[in-house]
Structure formats: structure tokens, C-alpha cells
């Protein structure tokens, strides 16, 4: 037996020889060494045995492998493309949700439509050709008009108010005439300040009186113009509408509910809660023709402040019915 380091030099050659990868020269050297070194001969035999054992470990691939892989590739191919069905169903669901939300928040009767598509106040503002940026957002379905001038000067505000009043007041002054024409009710935006005194009813929560608004003068103060931007939304329904429908009871804010009566009939204005329980009856009596207004300051008939939330308002004028809503915050 030769020294370990000397044999070590030949072991790699023996490995190459066993694998059939040794060059003729290296194979010859390995063979000569094995003849002289019995330990390296044993080493070669062990190496051959080991490779035989390992090479016998070959396995056959399962028959179903091809089917399995092709199925996987096919499913992957299907998933990689744009799938129209989920996309379409998502869009449809979104539309349904939006529509449902719209219905919930509006509760709009069907007959209110086109007549308010181009409200006089909007026309008036447009005709004024104001030099400031006036943002007019029309929501035709909701029939709501939001007018917000970005810091207009007092003079500009006066022009806006005057033009708006000119457009609004004729309709308010002669409700029956307005009713005879196209719209079922007159357009009366919340921004029009009520210059006529509103008679207060004995009930603390219920204020109702015939609305006999005289045409306001054009010499309105700039302070009044601030009310324009402060007014959030006017929600108009068939027989009436809810103005200032977002109220904070802690700040003593009140919502206004106005109904238009064409001829003497039974008029009801009732505020409900979400469970359809009566919270407050604002008006329930026969009223002559005219515009009637009630205010609700977020208290029930017992005088207690209600909790925050959405309160549907039921308005009935004769056979016509309308619903609005008031949002109470604290």
C-alpha cells in the first residue's frame, strides 16, 4: 500500500476510469496503480458497487403525469385571459349598488322631471356672466342644485342673489299659476332667503304657516349672500321639498320642509325614523292653496333631541305623496 497522499492522487483518476470519462493516459495510470495497490483496487470495487446501487434507483414516471400537466397548462391558459364574466358581473353589481343607494337617499316620486332640468336660478346665474368662478353642479335626477361662488365680492354676490330672486320669486308669488304650467311645483332654491315672516305655530317642534313671500328687494346685503354658500342642498320632490336637510342639533340648526298646495286639501308632513316610527308630526290639517313651510330642529314630539342619523320625511298634499330625508348630526 502506498501512502495516502499518493493514493489520493489516483482516486480521482480511478473515478474517471469507472465513469468512462478518463483520457487514455489517465486511465492507463489508474489501471497501473490499481495493480500495485490492493486498497485502491478495493476502492474501485466499492465505487463501482456504489454507482450500481445508485443507478438502480431509476424510477418510471407515472402514466397520468402527462394528463395532469396538460390539464394544469390548460387551466392556466384559461385563467390568464381576460375573463369577461366576472368583469361584467362586477360592473352590474356596482351599478345596482349605486342605483339602490340613489333610491334610498332620494325616495323620489316619478312624476318630477324635466321641468326642473334648467332651473331659472341657474339660468339667471348663467345670464349674469359673472367674472368669478361660479361652480354649478346639477344633479338632474336628484333635482338638486348646488351653487357655490368662490369668494365673490359683495357686488358680485348681490348680482347673483338679485338674478336668482328674479327668477324664483314669480313662481313663489303665484303658486297656482306655476302649478298650471309645466312643473308641478315651483322651483324655490334654499338659497333664496325668506324675507317674508313665517308665522310660528304653537308647537315648539312644528312651525307651519302659509308662505307669502314677497319679492325681495335687490338691495340685499352681502351678509345675506353668505347664506348662499352655507346652504348645502335643496331636495325637491313632487309636492314639496326639504331644504337644509343636513342639520346639527347641537348647533340648533333646523331643516325646512316646504309643500306646495294647489287647492285646499289635507296636508301632512311627518318625520319618521329608520324603523318607520313617527318621530314628529310637523303638519296634519287642511290647508288652503299656497306654499307651506315647517321646520324641524331634530326633536321628537316629546321634545327630546333625536339621535344622529337619517330621518325620512313624508309629505302628503291631497292625493300626492312625496318623501324626502333629513340627516341629523351632533
Amino acid at each position: 500500500m502506498k501512502t495516502g497522499s499518493e493514493c489520493g492522487r489516483y482516486k480521482e483518476m480511478i473515478m474517471e476510469m469507472v465513469d468512462g470519462e478518463a483520457s487514455a493516459e489517465r486511465a492507463g495510470l489508474a489501471k497501473n496503480h490499481i495493480v500495485l495497490c490492493p486498497d485502491c483496487a478495493i476502492y474501485r470495487d466499492k465505487l463501482v458497487k456504489m454507482t450500481e446501487i445508485i443507478s438502480s434507483m431509476k424510477v418510471e414516471a407515472p402514466e397520468y403525469m402527462e394528463t395532469r400537466i396538460m390539464a394544469k397548462i390548460a387551466s392556466q391558459k384559461r385563467n390568464s385571459g381576460f375573463n369577461f364574466i366576472p368583469a361584467f358581473s362586477t360592473v352590474v353589481s356596482a351599478v345596482v349598488v349605486i342605483f339602490a343607494a340613489f333610491l334610498i337617499y332620494n325616495n323620489k316620486p316619478a312624476q318630477v322631471t324635466v321641468a326642473l332640468a334648467q332651473p331659472p336660478a341657474v339660468k339667471a346665474v348663467a345670464e349674469a356672466k359673472l367674472p368669478v368662478a361660479v361652480k354649478i353642479a346639477k344633479v338632474p335626477v336628484k333635482h338638486a342644485v348646488i351653487i357655490a361662488a368662490s369668494k365673490p365680492s359683495a357686488a358680485v354676490k348681490n348680482v347673483i342673489i338679485a338674478k336668482a330672486q328674479e327668477a324664483v320669486v314669480p313662481a313663489v308669488k303665484a303658486p297656482s299659476a306655476a302649478a298650471a304650467s309645466a312643473p308641478e311645483i315651483a322651483y324655490a332654491p334654499a338659497m333664496a332667503p325668506l324675507t317674508a315672516p313665517v308665522a310660528k305655530a304653537a308647537n315648539v317642534n312644528t312651525n307651519s304657516a302659509p308662505f307669502t313671500a314677497a319679492a325681495p328687494s335687490n338691495t340685499m346685503h352681502a351678509a345675506d349672500a353668505d347664506k348662499i354658500t352655507a346652504t348645502p342642498t335643496v331636495v325637491i320632490t313632487a309636492v314639496g321639498y326639504v331644504a337644509d336637510n343636513l342639520i346639527n342639533v347641537n348647533r340648533g340648526e333646523c331643516a325646512k320642509v316646504r309643500v306646495q298646495v294647489a287647492q285646499q286639501c289635507e296636508v301632512k308632513i311627518i318625520v319618521y325614523d329608520k324603523a318607520a316610527r313617527i318621530v314628529s308630526v310637523l303638519l296634519d290639517q287642511n290647508e288652503p292653496a299656497g306654499t307651506w313651510e315647517s321646520t324641524w330642529c331634530g326633536r321628537n314630539d316629546g321634545g327630546s333631541v333625536v339621535t344622529g342619523g337619517v330621518y325620512p320625511v313624508y309629505m302628503q298634499v291631497g292625493q300626492s305623496v312625496a318623501k324626502g330625508f333629513i340627516i341629523v348630526t351632533k
Binding site: E12, I54, M57, E66, R68, M70, K77
Partner: protein, 193 residues
């Protein structure tokens, strides 16, 4: 149909021709995966992963190298990565199921010898030896296990191994020699060699 034509057809979207590639290489791929991972289910999953990867990347195959070398390289890399994941998992599991005193049990070879003395059954002994060899191969590093599998199971030449592993032939020889020495020592202790 020649292999290049098949590849072109698959590239053009005729997926069904990919079945021919699977048929041709499944033995090599599954064989390598099985001997490398030592688990049939794992080998099947790995084979599926390999072929899906081949299919997805076929457009990138430009034909500079042999398709067999390219497929084999994907196989080797996928199996190596999978083995590392498995070893991490097994490491955690072994810690959980470790029983003190287990090392005092008779060795596998003792049990094999005992079994052979009682019921001389060559096939059983052969399977047991194979299992021991598998076990000892499992104890090698992934790199050592890789070269042994490539050479002794898959029968690759030194040149092919160098091409697949992207190393020199002398580096292949060196790696293979160290791996075999390590395995031989283990099997000698088990008295299998």
C-alpha cells in the same frame, strides 16, 4: 415531427404538441426529481412545476443550446430550490417530533441483518439497502446530491454536467469526487460497502 418543429408549433399556440415534449422528457425530469427529493408526491409536484415553467418560458428559448440541456437545467434548479424548502420544513418538523433516546435504538443495518438472519429475503434486503443509500444521499449537501444524481441516476457526461451547471469540467470532477467520497464514507460506516 422534429423537436424544433414541435417547439415552433407550441410557440404559435398549438398547446397540444407540448404533450410530445412531456412524453419525451418526463422520465428524465421525474427521475431526477424523485431521486433528488426522495418523495413521490413531491417529485410529481416538482415535475408539474418544471413542465409548466418550460411551457411558460418556451417563447424565451432561442435555440442556442439544446432543448434537452435547457430542460435539464430548469429541472435541476427547480429541484434544488424545492429541496431547500423541504429541508427547512423537515428541520422544523424534526425539532417538533424529536424523542430523546431514539439514537439508542439498533442501527438500520443491525435491523437489516437481524431481519435477514430470521427471514432471508433478498428483495427485502435489497430494498433496505436502497433505502439506506437514499437516506445517506439525503444527508449530503444539495450540491453534492445534485452531482451524484446527475451522474449516477441521470447518466450525464461530465461535459453535459458542466454545461448544465455552468461550471468547468474540472470543477465537475472535483465536486463529484468530494460528493462520492462523502457518500462512500457514510455507506462504509453502514457496512453496505
Amino acid at each position: 415531427m422534429d423537436e424544433k418543429e414541435i417547439i415552433e408549433k407550441v410557440k404559435k399556440g398549438e398547446t397540444k404538441y407540448f404533450a410530445e415534449i412531456i412524453n419525451k422528457y418526463k422520465k428524465v425530469v421525474f427521475g431526477h426529481a424523485y431521486n433528488f427529493l426522495r418523495n413521490k408526491e413531491e417529485a410529481e409536484d416538482a415535475s408539474q412545476e418544471i413542465f409548466v415553467s418550460i411551457f411558460n418560458n418556451l417563447k424565451k428559448f432561442r435555440g442556442d443550446a439544446k432543448i434537452s440541456t435547457w430542460i435539464y437545467r430548469i429541472t435541476v434548479n427547480t429541484c434544488k430550490n424545492r429541496l431547500k424548502q423541504l429541508q427547512r420544513l423537515r428541520g422544523r418538523m424534526t425539532e417538533e417530533i424529536y424523542e430523546p433516546g431514539a439514537e439508542e435504538k439498533p442501527s438500520l443495518v443491525d435491523r437489516i441483518k437481524e431481519k435477514e438472519e430470521k427471514e432471508p429475503d433478498k428483495s427485502f434486503a435489497s430494498d433496505e439497502i436502497k433505502n439506506t443509500v437514499y437516506k445517506r444521499i439525503d444527508e449530503l449537501t444539495p450540491e453534492q446530491r445534485q452531482v451524484i444524481t446527475m451522474r449516477d441516476v441521470d447518466g450525464l457526461s461530465y461535459d453535459d454536467m458542466a454545461r448544465v451547471l455552468k461550471i468547468s469540467v474540472s470543477a465537475v470532477k472535483s465536486k463529484l469526487f468530494r460528493a462520492r467520497e462523502n457518500l462512500r464514507e457514510k455507506l462504509e460506516k453502514d457496512e453496505i460497502l
